[in-house]
C-alpha cells in the first residue's frame, strides 16, 4: 500500500537522500528536520532511505579492489597511444596520406582532360607565334588570344573532374573514410596545376619569341583562369559539366570581345577588360567560389536532376 502525496502537502521526500548524505545547505536541512518532527510519512521515508543507504554502502564495502597491475596497463596504454606521436610525425603521416590521395586521382581523371588541354594549348601557342612572327600582329592581341585559350582550356578541364557522369568510381570514393571534399580539392589542384604548367610554358615561348614581359602575359591569364575554373567547377556540381563549359565560353567571350571590338558592345561587358586580369578582386572571387564548391556543393543534388 502507498500513500498518495497530496498536491498541497509540503512533504520533503525528494530531499531525503541529500538530507542523509549531508550535502544539503543548512537552512534546507533545518526545514527538513523540522518537517520530519511532525510528519510520520516522511519519517518512514527517511528510515527507508537509511536502509537503502546501508545496503548500498555494504555492497560498496564488499566490492573487490581492482587487480594490482591496473596502473602498469595504464602506462602501457599511455605509452602506446597515438596522441604521444610528435607533431612532426603527425604532420608527416597526414602529408603522406594527402600525397597518396593526390597521386591516385591522376588515373581517375579523364585522359582526354590531360591530352585535350595539352593539344589545345600547343595549338594556341603555335597560332599566337604564327600571328606574331608571320602576320606581324600586335603582340598584345596575340597574348590576349593566348590568355583566352589558356583560361577556357582550364575551365573546360575543371568542368569534368567530379560527379557521377565523370567518375565511374564515385560511389566507391564516397564509401571510403577520405572526405570527398579532399578528393575534389586534390583533383582541382591537379588539373589547375597541369593547366598552369602548360600555360606558363606557352607564355615563356611567346615572351621569348617577341621579347615581351613574361609577368604581363602571366597576369593576363592567371587570375581569369582561376576565377573561370572555380565558376565552372561550381556550375558543374550544381547543374552539369556541359552547361558549365558553355557558361565559361559565354563568360570569357563577353570579357574578350571588347578587346577586339573596342567600344562596340559596352552593354555586354561583364567587367572592364583591365579588371579581367590578375587582380586581388579576381583572386578573392576565385577563392570564394572554390570554398563554396569544395565545402558546400558536394552536398547538394544537381539542379538539373
Amino acid at each position: 500500500m502507498t500513500l498518495q502525496v497530496p498536491q498541497s502537502q509540503n512533504h520533503v521526500a525528494d530531499l531525503l537522500p541529500a538530507y542523509i548524505n549531508g550535502t544539503m545547505d543548512y537552512p534546507t536541512s533545518e526545514r527538513v528536520h523540522a518537517h520530519l518532527l511532525h510528519c510520520g510519512a516522511c519519517q518512514i521515508e527517511l528510515s527507508s532511505w537509511e536502509a537503502v543507504r546501508d545496503a548500498a554502502q555494504f555492497t560498496a564495502a564488499v566490492t573487490p579492489l581492482p587487480s594490482a597491475n591496473v596502473l602498469n596497463a595504464v602506462w602501457a596504454k599511455i605509452d602506446a597511444s597515438p596522441w604521444r606521436v610528435s607533431i612532426q610525425q603527425w604532420f608527416l603521416k597526414h602529408a603522406l596520406h594527402l600525397w597518396l590521395v593526390f597521386k591516385r586521382q591522376i588515373p581517375l581523371i579523364y585522359k582526354s582532360v590531360w591530352i585535350g588541354s595539352a593539344l589545345v594549348i600547343f595549338a594556341g601557342c603555335s597560332l599566337v607565334l604564327f600571328s606574331i612572327l608571320q602576320l606581324h600582329n600586335h603582340p598584345r592581341d596575340a597574348e590576349a588570344t593566348l590568355a583566352l585559350i589558356a583560361t577556357v582550356t582550364s575551365a573546360a578541364g575543371i568542368a569534368f573532374i567530379y560527379g557521377r557522369d565523370n567518375d565511374a568510381g564515385l560511389e566507391i570514393t564516397l564509401s571510403t573514410p577520405t572526405s570527398i571534399r579532399i578528393v575534389m580539392f586534390c583533383r582541382l589542384l591537379l588539373v589547375l596545376g597541369y593547366d598552369f604548367a602548360l600555360s606558363a610554358f606557352a607564355s615563356i615561348v611567346v615572351a621569348l619569341a617577341h621579347g615581351g614581359s613574361l609577368w604581363e602575359i602571366f597576369q593576363m591569364w592567371l587570375g581569369p583562369m582561376l576565377l573561370l575554373s572555380s565558376i565552372t567547377l561550381t556550375l558543374s556540381l550544381l547543374i552539369g559539366s556541359w552547361f558549365a563549359v558553355m557558361a565559361a565560353l559565354v563568360l570569357e567571350s563577353l570579357q574578350e570581345l571588347p578587346l577586339y571590338v573596342e567600344r562596340q558592345a559596352p552593354l555586354l561587358q561583364f567587367a572592364n577588360p583591365s579588371t579581367w586580369q590578375t587582380s586581388p578582386t579576381v583572386l578573392f572571387l576565385a577563392v570564394l567560389f572554390i570554398i563554396f564548391a569544395v565545402f558546400y556543393a558536394p552536398r547538394q543534388p544537381r539542379l538539373s536532376n
Binding site: 500500500m1 502507498t2 500513500l3 498518495q4 502525496v5 512533504h11 521526500a13 525528494d14 537522500p17 541529500a18 542523509i20 548524505n21 549531508g22 550535502t23 544539503m24 510519512a41 516522511c42 518512514i44 521515508e45 528510515s47 527507508s48 532511505w49 537509511e50 536502509a51 537503502v52 543507504r53 546501508d54 545496503a55 548500498a56 554502502q57 555494504f58 555492497t59 560498496a60 566490492t63 573487490p64 579492489l65 581492482p66 587487480s67 591496473v70 596502473l71 596497463a73 595504464v74 602506462w75 596504454k77 599511455i78 597511444s81 596522441w83
Partner: protein, 186 residues
C-alpha cells in the same frame, strides 16, 4: 572519504604537466570509488577493470583541460561514465532497463506506508544488485559517494530533477523487487 579539494586539484594540475607520480597518487585515492562505480555499470569484473584503465588514460590526456569548475571526484566520475558509455555502446549494452522504466511510467508521486528498514539487509542488498545500472549508479553516487544532487547531475550530465526522479524510481523499484521476491518465496 574526505580529502582536501585543493590537494586533489594540485594532483590534477601535476598530472596535466605530465607527472606520473601524481596519477599514481590520484589512483590510490580514488581506485575503490571509481571501481565500485564502474561495477554498477557492468557486472563484468574484467570489463570494469578495462574501463578503469581507459578512465585513467583519459584523465592523463585531459587533466590539462580540467578547469576546476567541479570537484575532482565529480570530474573523475564524469570521465569514467563517458568511457563506460563509449565502451558499453560498442558492446551493445544499454544502461537503461526499458522494462523497468515502463513499469514506473504510470505511477505518480507517492509515499510508502511501511519502511524498508524492516527488511533484512541481505535481502535489500540482493534487491539492490538486481536494479538496472541507471538506478544503481544514482544510488551509489548520492548514498555511497555522498555527492550532492548538483554534483550527481553534473557527473551524469542530466538535470537535477532527473537525479531526484531516478532516486525516487530506484527506491520504488527496490520495493517492487522485494515484493516480487517475497511473493515468489511463498
Amino acid at each position: 572519504m574526505d580529502k582536501p579539494a585543493d590537494d586533489d586539484r594540485q594532483l590534477v594540475k601535476r598530472i596535466g604537466a605530465g607527472d606520473r607520480q601524481a596519477l599514481s597518487e590520484l589512483y590510490a585515492r580514488y581506485q575503490r570509488l571509481l571501481f565500485n562505480y564502474l561495477l554498477q555499470l557492468t557486472p563484468d569484473y574484467g570489463l570494469a577493470e578495462e574501463l578503469l584503465q581507459d578512465t585513467l588514460v583519459a584523465v592523463w590526456k585531459s587533466a590539462c583541460s580540467f578547469e576546476g569548475r567541479s570537484s575532482v571526484q565529480t570530474w573523475l566520475i564524469g570521465v569514467a561514465r563517458r568511457q563506460a558509455h563509449n565502451t558499453l555502446r560498442q558492446h551493445k549494452i544499454s544502461l537503461v532497463n526499458e522494462s523497468e522504466l515502463e513499469g514506473l511510467a504510470a505511477v505518480g508521486p507517492e509515499l510508502e506506508d511501511s519502511t524498508l528498514a524492516s527488511i533484512a539487509r541481505d535481502e535489500l542488498v540482493e534487491a539492490f544488485k538486481q536494479l538496472g545500472a541507471v538506478h544503481r549508479e544514482v544510488l551509489v553516487l548520492t548514498l555511497v559517494q555522498e555527492l550532492s544532487y548538483e554534483e550527481t547531475a553534473a557527473a551524469l550530465n542530466v538535470p537535477v530533477g532527473t537525479v531526484k526522479s531516478r532516486l525516487s524510481n530506484a527506491k520504488r523499484l527496490l520495493r517492487a523487487l522485494l515484493v516480487t521476491r517475497e511473493g515468489a518465496g511463498r
